[in-house]
């Protein structure tokens, strides 16, 4: 029902060279594309895939952090973590709504997540093993997300760009809060310092992997750049992240677990060791420690909640019928 007016949404529209050319001109002129505007089918599909993945990442991301809500070591931290996880759920909700403007329903996207057809950020397939991981996730994972998402505030698709503006504000709050948790640990007892370092050791490389494969190996990059869905390449964003994060770790007295990390005066950035791409692809393919548990937990929430959703629908139906009978 959302798809009328979307060129190609039903696969029937001809994408003539003139149409594609006119569309590209709008993009180049930094025009925002809105849901009812004509758009190439590939553009629509790319956005559905990307926004859907982003939404799923917010939702699945609630699980590793939710794992520590009941153990947060102070009431202040417990409240802040609850609020953070709630924010992530809110991000999921805006993003599903943005994707719905392109003609896919939230139910459909949810089913694709549960069946394994849709992906989410692999970072959430790593387990949270200590309280420090809550700090590290805020600092590095929200930090990396911001690097990815700030350019998306200027994405050519209007609803996505607008959702990102609101989301980015909250993500940067999460990043600061996470850093503050780690700072407290880094200035704490020996055991707390060790907890912080151990956590950084486990999350550093997966955080770098969040930017995706090297530019040469990234299948969707070129077209997305041309359509201004993406503004920087994976490697550019990764470099920015490293350059911003290394001094933060140094300030805390924590050691980045990369012996090859070195300042490169000439390029004005850090050189770093090679990412273990076997691990990256392995986790993407489903072999991360938590892949199965994450999907199982999401599916269980969905399945166990089915009777609640059915009851809500049935009740609304009864209400409507009673109201009609009364009129």
């Amino acid at each position: 029902m959302y798809s009328q007016g979307l060129i190609g949404a039903d696969g029937r529209t001809d994408e003539t060279p003139e149409f594609l050319e006119a569309f590209q001109q709008r993009i180049d002129a930094e025009d925002k594309i809105e849901p009812n505007d004509a758009m190439p089918e590939g553009y629509r599909r790319t956005l559905v895939r990307q926004i859907g993945q982003h939404a799923h990442s917010e939702i699945v991301g609630m699980l590793p952090e939710g794992n520590w809500i009941t153990r947060a070591p102070s009431l202040r931290r417990k409240a802040a973590l609850l609020a953070k996880v709630q924010d992530e759920g809110g991000h999921g909700l805006y993003l599903y709504s943005a994707a719905e403007t392109l003609g896919v329903s939230r139910e459909q996207m949810t089913e694709e997540l549960h069946s394994g057809k849709a992906k989410y950020s692999s970072i959430f397939n790593y387990p949270t093993l200590s309280w420090a991981d809550i700090g590290t996730i805020g600092w590095l994972v929200d930090g990396a997300a911001i690097m990815n998402q700030i350019p998306l505030c200027r994405c050519s698709f209007g609803p996505y760009a607008r959702a990102m503006i609101r989301v980015c504000k909250e993500e940067s709050f999460h990043q600061r809060q996470g850093y503050e948790i780690i700072m407290t640990l880094a200035q704490g007892t020996d055991a707390q310092k060790e907890m912080a370092q151990d956590s950084l050791n486990r999350w550093w490389w997966p955080a770098l992997m969040m930017f995706g494969p090297h530019d040469g190996d990234s299948e969707h990059s070129d077209q997305s750049m041309k359509w201004k869905i993406k503004r920087f390449t994976n490697d550019e964003l990764r470099q920015k992240f490293i350059d911003a994060t290394v001094p933060q770790a140094e300030y805390l007295g924590l050691k980045i677990p990369d012996p090859e990390l070195k300042w490169n005066e000439e390029k004005g950035g850090y050189d770093h060791g090679e990412i273990d791409w076997n691990e990256f692809w392995s986790v993407v393919k489903g072999n991360g420690r938590m892949n199965r548990d994450r999907i199982k937990a999401r599916r269980a929430a969905w399945d166990n909640g089915a009777w609640v959703r059915e009851a809500a629908t049935a009740h609304a139906e009864k209400r409507r019928a009673r109201k009609m009978a009364a009129e």
């Binding site: 996880v85 999921g92 166990n304």
Partner: protein
């Protein structure tokens, strides 16, 4: 000391219930509830923090909110039994919330007249929050009670399971009685009429009946709990207790 103990009872009610709701986080039946339940948990935990802090001040031994929350064991916790009941399913969770909020709302309204300024302050904020909890949980009790056959059966199970914990809400411990006599806290028994009215209204629409309760459970105010609270506290306090004296 009586006021200190009475405030702890109240703070424990809020923390324990807030903790229970927070256990749903990421596992709610729909995304909208994954946003609504943390709101309620945050309200409750927020109130508990103010109350712990105030209790600590009045005691005057330098105990912080975290000392009070994290270093007392299950025999020291003074919450009523209703709030520690496990989540079970969404019907139980919403009914537990409704029962508690239907009590706390008039309680906080009355506590706005407290002789203690901190209690007055928290009461003003908390009564608004409790009005929202009544609305939110009450709407769900209605939807589920008058939804499908399955949801109605689950709702009736929840009523059956939780109604035996209601009377304890209205009992004042000796500490509470002293705090009430001193004008710090309102009398719990005074909330019964309002509670009955709220529940009757919701149950009427939800097609539910409040059952006869031949034997009501109590004991929470003396630290006599169900077996579940010890597990909840063991989990909640694990990190804090593993690192004595650490700052977080």
């Amino acid at each position: 000391m009586a006021v200190y103990n009475a405030l702890l009872e109240l703070a424990d009610d809020h923390l324990v219930l807030g903790h229970r709701i927070s256990e749903w986080c990421g596992h709610a039946p729909m995304l909208e509830e994954d946003l609504a339940m943390p709101n309620m948990a945050l309200d409750l935990i927020g109130t508990s923090r103010t109350l712990y802090e105030r209790a600590g001040q009045l005691e005057g031994k330098g105990q912080s909110e975290d000392d009070l929350a994290y270093l007392r064991g299950e025999r020291d916790y003074r919450n009523c039994l209703l709030v520690e009941r496990p989540n079970e399913d969404f019907a139980h969770t919403m009914l537990r919330q409704l029962y508690f909020a239907a009590f706390m709302h008039p309680y906080w309204v009355a506590a706005q007249q407290s002789s203690d300024e901190v209690v007055q302050g928290v009461a003003g904020k908390a009564q608004k929050e409790m009005a929202y909890h009544i609305r939110h949980a009450g709407e769900w009790v209605i939807r589920l009670g008058d939804g499908t056959e399955e949801s109605a059966a689950r709702m009736r199970d929840a009523v059956e399971a939780l109604s035996i914990y209601v009377d304890e809400l209205f009992d004042s411990s000796l500490a509470a009685q002293e705090a009430e006599a001193a004008g710090v806290l309102p009398s719990r028994a005074d909330m019964r009429a309002e509670w009955d009215k709220t529940i009757a209204q919701v149950f009427d629409e939800a097609l539910l009946a409040f059952p006869e309760v031949p034997f009501a459970q109590s004991g929470g105010r003396e630290g006599l709990h169900d077996e579940g609270l010890g597990h909840m506290l063991a989990e909640m306090q694990s990190v804090y207790r593993a690192h004595p004296g650490a700052r977080w």
